[in-house]
């Protein structure tokens, strides 16, 4: 594997994991515009654990996921009191506060950032990404996935039908935070350097767009969205400014032509009936 390809694949893996973290929250109908904050928590937890304590990589990654999950679990209770646009604002505020705390803390390196002593290969990132993808697909096929879909489509009716709405939402938010923390940990270990300025509002916005453009109806959405927006610019080999300009145009066009995202449940059904006539899978 060439160095360039390895680098692209590692970024792809990290982006896909990050996209699933936002997807799991979005699958219950909640928009999380603070992804960068949870990613930063995981990245800094990972940096401290591997620099100061010297834990093995597997444990470091596990702890960064656990910390991301625990913090978002605690935050979930006040944040999920809010709805719609207020939820977007609240999660956005959390990411800004996390970045602000990191910038002000000399222990966390402040604006100069932190160097991490340990290093992981691309393969580790890819293996973790595959595990996250498979687990997400599995989860969406279980009763929990069905409950999440019900809460997404109509909270009140799901509640009436006996779905524990609050548990589903808090659980999805916490799980999303844990996966975002995991992606942050992988980012820190792969690149060996983290700074607060990287985890900015743009990162949160981009990852939410990957998910919404990919589609929130099925677990294929974040996989396709993140891959599309990571690989296409690399394949086109265009400058960074043009890359984001075209990204913007694609987003506006997508919202007009196909606002439910690239992959929808209908589209999947149509493909599967064509491939396996007579068998339906809903």
């Amino acid at each position: 594997m060439s160095g360039y390809l390895a680098g692209v694949l590692a970024i792809l893996g990290i982006n896909i994991i990050f996209a699933y973290s936002i997807y799991i929250t979005a699958a219950t109908g909640q928009l999380n515009l603070g992804g960068a904050g949870f990613q930063a928590i995981g990245a800094y937890a990972c940096a401290i654990l591997s620099n100061e304590i010297g834990l093995p990589i597997s444990l470091t990654l596990m702890f960064s996921a656990i910390l991301g999950g625990a913090i978002s679990f605690l935050i979930a209770f006040p944040v999920l009191r809010t709805k719609g646009v207020y939820m977007v604002l609240a999660t956005f505020a959390i990411a800004e506060i996390v970045a602000g705390i990191i910038l002000n803390s000399s222990y966390l390196g402040g604006p100069t950032g932190m160097i991490i002593n340990t290093y992981i290969e691309t393969e580790v990132v890819l293996i973790v990404a595959i595990i996250v993808i498979l687990l997400s697909f599995y989860m969406m096929s279980t009763r929990i996935g069905l409950a999440m879909r019900a809460v997404h489509d109509d909270e009140a009716v799901a509640d009436l039908m006996g779905v524990n709405k609050r548990a589903i939402q808090v659980g999805a938010f916490a799980l999303g935070g844990a996966i975002a923390g995991l992606s942050g940990g992988l980012y820190a270990l792969y690149f060996g350097f983290i700074e607060a300025q990287y985890f900015n509002a743009n990162i949160s916005i981009f990852v939410l767009l990957y998910v919404l453009i990919g589609g929130t109806q099925t677990a294929w959405g974040p996989l396709l969205g993140a891959s599309f927006f990571t690989l296409i610019p690399e394949a086109l080999r265009i400058g960074d400014d043009w890359r984001f300009f075209i990204f913007g145009v694609i987003i506006v066009a997508m919202m007009i032509l196909r606002p439910e995202g690239i992959v929808t449940r209908d589209a999947l059904d149509r493909v599967s009936t064509r491939l396996f006539p007579g068998k339906s899978n809903v």
Binding site: V85, I94, I251
Partner: protein
Amino acid sequence: MLFEQVLQQIINGLMLGSIYISVAVAFTLAIGILNFLNFTIPALYMLAGMVGWSLSHYGLPFGLSGPIHWGLALVIGIICAILASLLVERFTYRYFKMKHGDATEHAIPLVSSLGFLLIFEYLILIAHGSDTRGFSTPFTNLDWKTAGFIISIPQLASLILSILIVAALSFLLSRTKVGRALRAIAENPDAATMMGIDVDRIVPIVFILIGFLCGISASIFAINYHEVSPYMGDHVGTKAIAAMVIGGLGSVWGAIAGGLIVGLSETLSIYFFGASSAQITVWSLLLILVVFKPTGLFGHNAIGKGKF
């Protein structure tokens, strides 16, 4: 002495807040009337400032003229922001009104506006690079020193101008026919249509106002701080969102109070706790308000309760 310094910071904070006021009002109009969190507002603000700078520095594109007078350049910048805002209306809100039936549809205009944010921001970056540019106006060192305090006269004029514009807007909303139509749309677009309001013709007015407010605010910023940059919108945009929430979503006068409170808490926390603490103070304030009193100081109960 400390007391006087703090008082000076309070004055500076109020002056800084005058920049946030117009942008916060733009956000609050989009939310209050259309239930739409319009993320293009920071881009429109930046667009007005950068177009103004480019015209006063290079002149019209394709060498049509030499550098233009800064005042005229800023006016053209404001017009550009208004046109860009109408473009946003054409491709976000209008489509949002047409499509129904999917649970994530409430996010469509929000996501589209994020797309437009990227388009405008990176167009300017492609054209002019990412450097901060000096914007020269004749108003330098026009300070009014009174009782030991320094008040910049252009800033004072800007604060008064912002409040006057908002007062005019408030008059427009409460007293005129257009204002009544806008309030009807805010309450219920379908009922407004049944009452004979041509929603497709009234809604663009909101976007014209949004572009105008962003342009004015960017001009005030360029005149007072003598610089523009492709990233000028990000800083003001996030602070204006905070100001809008603090004042209460949909409340025009709340946006003024919110803008001044954000400006104050920003300068005071910089004065007491150092430069990078402002971010934590402003956003913690916002988070606490969103969670415990989502209506803000003057907000209306009904706004933002449903899905967007």
